[in-house]
């Protein structure tokens, strides 16, 4: 299936891109992240990170659907 991936802040700098359209068999954000990290060497870990699917905060083990937009958020630091 096709997934739109978006990277923010340190993840964007590590991936070298703000986003990409990927063809994947990954069924969860966790699996998808590992796949992306395989392509972008600096994208090491999602420890302490957050994920959103279609502009809703999501769980790393939530199932993905074709056409989803997945947002990878590195550790946040508001305030």
């Amino acid at each position: 299936m096709k997934i739109h991936v978006r990277y923010f802040a340190a993840f964007r700098e590590a991936a070298g891109t703000a986003g990409e359209l990927v063809e994947t068999g990954a069924s969860t954000p966790a699996a998808l992240f590992r796949e992306c990290a395989g392509r972008h060497a600096d994208l090491q870990t999602y420890s302490a990170s957050l994920v959103a699917i279609n502009d809703e905060m999501a769980d790393w083990e939530q199932p993905l659907a074709d056409g989803d937009e997945v947002l990878f958020f590195p550790p946040v630091a508001g305030g």
């Binding site: 959103a52 905060m57 590195p74 550790p75 946040v76 630091a77 305030g79």
Partner: protein, 149 residues
């Protein structure tokens, strides 16, 4: 009135208290996050906040609504800055007005604590030595795992 906002302009310190003024309230607590000139031994020249607004606004509003519900508040509001910001400026402002002071303190603390760990906002510090770095939220770094939401 019970709103969460993001702005790229200067946050004036009196903006919330005017909005939250209420003659039924005897207590007003305000938190201001100021841009410090140092962090972990490095001299900081300025900050940059990257904010993913669609979700930050949604999640920020949820936090305000939770605080109002949980502490039985009259009014609460917060504003977070985005983009480049100078030393001494207000990075985040939280205001809470209530009849009595106990709830005002607790709710104000709740809002800022939650804003810091739940909003898709990232801080880049620019140092005197020319370097720039994304700063991790301390709690995340210490916990070493993602937050429960």
């Amino acid at each position: 009135m019970n709103s969460f906002e993001v702005t790229s302009g200067t946050i004036e310190p009196w903006i919330l208290r005017e909005r939250l003024a209420d003659r039924a309230c005897g207590a007003y607590v305000q938190f201001e996050g100021w841009v410090r000139d140092h962090n972990e031994g490095q001299r900081v020249l300025r900050l940059e906040y990257e904010v993913y607004e669609p979700l930050a606004l949604k999640e920020g509003q949820k936090i305000i609504d939770e605080a109002v519900e949980r502490f039985g508040l009259n009014h609460a509001a917060a504003i977070h800055r985005s983009g480049l910001i100078e030393l001494g400026d207000i990075a985040v402002l939280v205001g809470v007005s209530t009849p009595h002071r106990g709830e005002a303190f607790e709710a104000c603390r709740y809002v800022i604590d939650q804003l810091k760990v739940r909003l898709p906002i990232w801080k880049k510090e620019y140092y005197a030595n020319g370097a720039a770095e994304w700063v991790n939220c301390q709690r995340c770094a210490e916990a070493g795992h993602r937050h429960e939401l």
